[in-house]
Every structure is written in C-alpha cells, then in structure tokens.
C-alpha cells in the first residue's frame, strides 16, 4: 500500500496578492510615461535615421523612400499613436537596421545580460555583506580601514580599466581565463568580477552603516545582556534589522546592472543589451532603442516590486494592506 502524505494547500495571503496585482497594474502608466518621454526625446536628437540607412551617397529621393518605409514622414503624434497601438499588441516593431522584429533582437541578448547581472550581484553580495558586517563589528580598526579603503577603491575605479587589467593578468599573463566571449562558466568570471567591483563597494558601505546603527540599538544591548553569543547577536538580531536598507541597495544596484553594463560588455565581448542599445543609438535605430529601454524599464519596475515583497519577509511588521 502506498503511503500518501496529506497535501495541504498553501495559505494564500490575499492582501499580498492584491498588492502585487495593484503594483503590476500601476506599471502600465509608468511604462506609458517612459514610452512618451523616450519617443519624443529620441526624435529631438539631431541626425536622420533614413540618411544613416541610405548611406552617404544616397539621392534625396532614396532617402525619402526609406523615410517613408520607416513611417518617419508621418506627423510625429501619428507615429507615437501607431507605436502605442503596436505596443498594446506586444509588437515593438522592426529594427530599422536589420529589419528583424525588435523583440527578437532584444531576446537574443537579454539572457546574456540577465546572466551577467545575476552573477555580478551574487558576487557582490557574497563579498560586500560580510565585508560590511566585519567593518561594523570592528569599527575603526585595521579591518574597518581596509574594507573602507577597498570600497573607496571599488567605487572610484573605472570599470573599463579594471576589466582590461583583469584581462592582462588572468588571460594574457596567467592564461587561466578567456579574455572575452561567451559559452562556458569560465567566460562569466572576469566580466562578473568587473561588474561586481563597483557594487561590492556600495553594498559594503551600506551594510557597514546599517549594521553600526543596528548594533547601537537597545535590542542589541538586550541580546548581549541576555548572554547570547556575539555571532548570534550580530547575525540574528543586528543583521536582520539592518537588512532593509541593504536589500534596497542590492535591488537598485541589480536594476542598474541590467542596464548599465555597456563598458563591461564591450571589454569582454559579451553580447548583451547594453551594446545593442549603444549601437542602435549610433545608428538612430529608433525601434530598437525604444524596445530595449522599455524592457529595461519593465525589468527595473519588477525588480523594485520584488524588493518591496522581500521587505515583508524580512520584517514581519511590514504589511501590504
């Protein structure tokens, strides 16, 4: 006879669900706002996309032909209305350069961007949070000064320079890791370290400040006076209370990593969204720029929502009614 365990339906937090749905609905006006600003700001840029595509020697008629094909000869508000109409149908249009659907262009690179951002944020948390805690627990000692100096170094160091130095050391001299490209886990190491360096510094500084504040609170003194071990006091009492600002910083930095890895992608020949956007700006490929930035916007909003939800798990006092 087969034994079967009793299946218990998970308890649904209706308040939370309602909150999530409300937040998701509220992303729509934000996305429309982004699309509006983006659309009109792009059109304010000097330079004619039809001319870029037609080439330097094209006749005015040929340029006009392309302008017509791209719909750029219509009134600007008509263009925007058509863009919004397509957006409702989840159609981001076609790239002016490659004629491929924008969604395909973005989709081909998005997984690489997310992989790099996730690897970098994990690395940053693994190093940044312990460093910040150590620094807060031993304030004004050599450990604290070391962590603070390293953080300053990380924030000040140009990403481009750090990336190239890592390439010289680990690829050219030691020949341990590939200098660029994708394909294996080894390819992820150098770009994620480069990208993480800046974020580690931020997280370490935020953790230090937040932990120092928590360690000075009455509940920490109470915990110590109860005779708890210092490690328990630090991790269970102080860190738990100090986590909210740290989570906020991690969330914001993760959002930035998704969109701000252009230099790292360039140095390590990493085919991500950042480079796609830069190349598209240089070619005035409006549909790709719009599509890619809208997707960034959406991802950023979702990351923020996740952060808000994590607050509730970390701090039971936070309720989403």
């Amino acid at each position: 006879m087969l034994s079967c365990s009793r299946l218990v339906a998970p308890k649904i937090d209706w308040n939370m669900l309602r909150y999530v749905i409300k937040r998701l609905i509220s992303t729509l006006p934000v996305l429309i706002g982004i699309s509006f600003l983006l659309f009109f700001m792009l059109r304010m840029l000097p330079g004619d996309p039809a001319q870029v595509l037609a080439g330097q020697m094209a006749t005015p008629e040929e340029v006009q032909n392309i302008r017509h094909q791209l719909g750029l000869d219509r009134p600007i508000f008509t263009q925007y209305a058509l863009f919004l109409g397509r957006l409702v149908r989840f159609d981001l249009g076609r790239s002016a350069r490659t004629q491929n659907p924008v969604i395909e262009e973005v989709w081909a690179r998005l997984p690489n961007t997310i992989l790099l951002a996730v690897a970098a944020i994990i690395l940053a948390c693994l190093f940044g949070i312990p460093a910040g805690i150590l620094s807060a627990v031993r304030p004004y000692t050599w450990i604290d000064y070391l962590v603070t100096s390293m953080a300053l170094f990380g924030i000040s160091m140009p990403v481009f320079w750090l990336g190239l130095m890592l390439v010289v050391l680990f690829s050219v001299i030691l020949q341990w890791l590939p200098a660029g490209g994708t394909g294996t886990w080894k390819h992820v190491i150098l770009p994620s370290i480069t990208l993480a360096a800046f974020v580690v510094a931020f997280i370490a500084r935020m953790t230090r400040a937040s932990m120092m504040e928590a360690l000075a609170q009455d509940y920490t003194t109470t915990a110590r006076s109860k005779g708890l071990k210092e490690s328990v006091v630090v991790v269970k009492h102080a860190l738990k209370n100090a986590l909210i600002p740290i989570i906020t910083v991690v969330g914001l930095q993760f959002g930035l990593l998704l969109g701000g890895a252009v230099l790292t992608e360039t140095v390590f020949a990493w085919p991500g969204l950042g480079r796609l956007i830069v190349d598209s700006i240089l070619a005035r490929d409006y549909p790709v720029i719009q599509g890619a930035i809208l997707i960034f916007g959406l991802l950023y909003i979702l990351v923020n929502l996740m952060v808000d939800l994590v607050y509730a798990f970390v701090d039971p006092r936070i309720r989403y009614d």
Binding site: P46, G47, Q51, N112, V172
Partner: protein, 519 residues
Amino acid sequence: MKKMAIHIKRILFISLLVMGLGLWSAPSGQGAEVKELRIGIGIDADTLNPQEQTTTLIQNMCDLIYDTLFYQNPEAKLEPRLATRYEMSKDGLTYTIHLRKGVKFSDGTPCDAKAVKLTLDRALDPKMRVPLRFAIAVIKEVKVVDDHTIRLELKYPFAPLAATLSLTICSPISPAAIEKYGEGVREKPVGAGPYILKEWVKGDRIVMVRNENYYGKRPNVAQLTFKIIPDDATREAMLRTGQIDVCYKPLPSNVAALKADPKIRVDMPLDTRTIFMGLNCKKGVTQNKLVRQAFNYAVDKKAICKKILFDTAIPMEGPVSPILFGYHRMAHQYDYNPDKAKELLKKANFDFNQTVSMRTPQGRYLFDKQVSEAVQAYLQAIGVKAELRTYDWPTYIAGLLKPIEQSELEVFLLGWGPLILDADMGLYGQFHSSVNPPKGLGAAHYSNPVYDEAVEATRREQDPKKRLELFKKASEIVWDDCPWIWLHVEKFVIAYSSKVKGMVVTSTEKFYPTYVTMD
C-alpha cells in the same frame, strides 16, 4: 539579325581582362586543411544581403558567401570569378559579360544570366535599400543574351565599369532564395561563394562552413568563425593568448609591439582611404584659395602620421591614395611651413579676429578627434582662432549633406575610401561639381569647370595610358585649388598568428582566408 550583326561589328572586342593568365581560372590554393580559423572583429553584421551593405568588413563576409563577378587583386589586376571575361563596345556604352558555366548557388540553383540580371535589377531598383547604388548607377539596362551572357547598357561611357563589377553590391544572389525568403535573405544568405552561413548568434559570432559545391578549388579552411569582440585591446589580448587566430584592425598604438612579437604577423597595406580636412570653397573664410593653401602649409602631416597615428598612415602627396590607378605624386608639396602659411594669410588679408569653425566626428575614423585637435592646434599656432566641435556620426553626416545655402561647414574632418582601385571614385566622387551636397558628398562644395571637364574626360577615355595623363591633369588642378587640407592615407592593419600562411590582404580593407594553411 542583320542589326545584330552590325552591332556586333561595331563592338570592339577588347580582352581587357586585363590581367594575366589567371584570367580564365577560378581561385585556387593548396595545403593541409585547416579545421577552423577564428577571426576577431569589432562589430556584428546588420545584414548579410550584399546590396544593403556599406561596411567593408561585412562586405568582406558577403564576398565569402556570395563571390563576386570579378575580383580586383591586391595589385589592382582584375581576375575572373563568376564572370570569366567581358567585351566593351567601341563607344564604351555596351559591355558584354560572359559568365562561368556550370556554377550553382549553394542551394543548387544555377548561377546564370537570369540570376545575374535579377541581382543587378534589384540593385538598380530605387525602391530597394541599396546605399552604394551610386557606384553602379551608370548602368541603364541589363539584358540577358543567353544563359551565360549578359549585356549592360550604360548611360554614358564609364571606363572603370569592369572594376566596378568586382564590388560586393554586384554579387549574384540565388533567385530561389529571394523567392523563398524575400528580404529575409539578409539573414539567410545564399550565394555561389566558397562558404555557407552556418550560424549567426547576434552580437557574439558568425560561423561559416565550406561550400562543398563551390565551383573553384576546394576551400582549405573548413570553418570560419567571426567572433565579435568590440574592444580593440581585448581583441588583441585574445590574439596573443591564442583564443583567436586573426585580429581585425588592432589598435594603431600597439602595432609596433605586435610586430615585435614573433608569434604574430602584421600586414598593413596602404588603404584606398584618405583622411582630410574639408574646406568650404563657397562660404566663409575658406572661400579664398590663398587661405586654403595657407592652412595646408600650416599643418605638419608627417608629425600627425607619426605621433598620433603611430605610422599607420602616410601623408597625402596627391589627391588620392597612391595605390589607385590614376594616382600621381604631385610635383609641388605643401610641406609644413608655418611662415609661408602666415605670409599667404597676410596676402589674403585674413582677419585674425574672426573664429574659424571646425567640426569632427568621433570614433568614425582612426583617432579622428585627436587628428582634428592637432589641426586646430596647428591653425592656432599661426594665429588663426579655431573652435572645434565634436559630433556623433549621424549628427555629423546630416550637417555634411546640407545644400550650400544651409551649410554651416567651414573646416571639417572626413574620410573617403574608393571601393575599387581606380582614381575615379576619388577625383570624380569628391571634386566634380555634380557631387556637391545635397546631390553627393563633395562637402567642400568645390566647383571648377576646368576641373570638371578634365575629370569627365577620364571617364570617356578607354586607353589606360591616356587616362593616366588625364588623371594627372585633373589631379594637378585640384591639388593647387586645395579644397581640402590634404592630410593622410590610412593603412589597413590586420594582425594574425604567424602560424597562418597565405592570407590575402587587399588595399580595399578586405582579407581572404579561404586558402590559408597553418603550421
């Protein structure tokens, strides 16, 4: 029939082809097979439709997939490819092109006269997006004579027509692929070249494999992998560490170090591209020829080539690149002479209180901004107030193409690289009055009827020796008029593992690894 016979009589059969005994042969090579050649490049392709392409590197890739009608070798000699020979009528208005028999596209479709007509008709169709259409706009009509012969009717005599047919834009595309994929051929290219597209991972790599049905000698390299590595320094590091075999355009500042490395070979033939400071001949202070000549004397081009470009360029000594047919080194040179420059400005009653407006693109040409800054400093050194503005390329190009009434250009940096090894595209394409914006990119707005007549004559004349003389005459006129500060001729730099032997590198910034061997 009689008409045809008369027509044939009129045709002067010149075996222009030009070109040695290799003429009727297909490309060939030999050596142990190379399984994969990894080539590091800086940009991804936007389209692999040869007619939509303007970037030389991607045209180079298209050549490997499609093959061209003719091929201009590094010595500027025309060799047969999909076309074996041509004949030109006496009046220079009709070209009969004989195609290679028995050639098939990689999808099995015959590469015949109908396919070539379809290709050229598409390239000439104003509704199609063909940025380099101007290069073949001389063709009025394409006619099929028989399965392996086409006839081109020209609008006017055009001596470099045969060389023009070596352009990527004329590469035949499989009619079956056009029918099947439509404009999707830009991602699913089907040609008759030595390679077939195997994989295209956007932003990461483009992989080609050998076309086993290629009409020519079997390619020696089984697979070509173009890895997209945008950063020059990373590309170079990957070459040094053996992660790639070929590094396309390494940083000029590192060329000396690469040359010193015994594991690396650097090829750097002179390019067709000239870099210049355009001087508006119709507006502003540079209208005055004396001012334009003074600016030429004021700039030390040798120093720019040595100190800024690390000897990956040479100063211009004629109005086009020395590797072009029709080049002449000018007897009089504008050697660096600030005193003479000041003297000329004085003679021109130059107002030293006014500010000369300079423009430059950034990132378009090798060290473009730095070169412009150096020119600015040289002008300031002779007392000229010069203000330099930097633009990204789309903004810059929009400013260049304005008609003279709207043009704000005074002194501006630009490059010009003829696609074939003939001075026509340089001398006509930049200085004939018909190419003044907005019709063309002769952004200096140079216009001289005597020059126009001289350069038009080079197009009509079919005798190469006489053409050379006519080119000399035209060159001397424009050289004296100075519509540009004649800066430098770039070199095309490509570095690769010294194990690689037999790489063909051309002055039109292309390389052909089809028959390389590896130690």
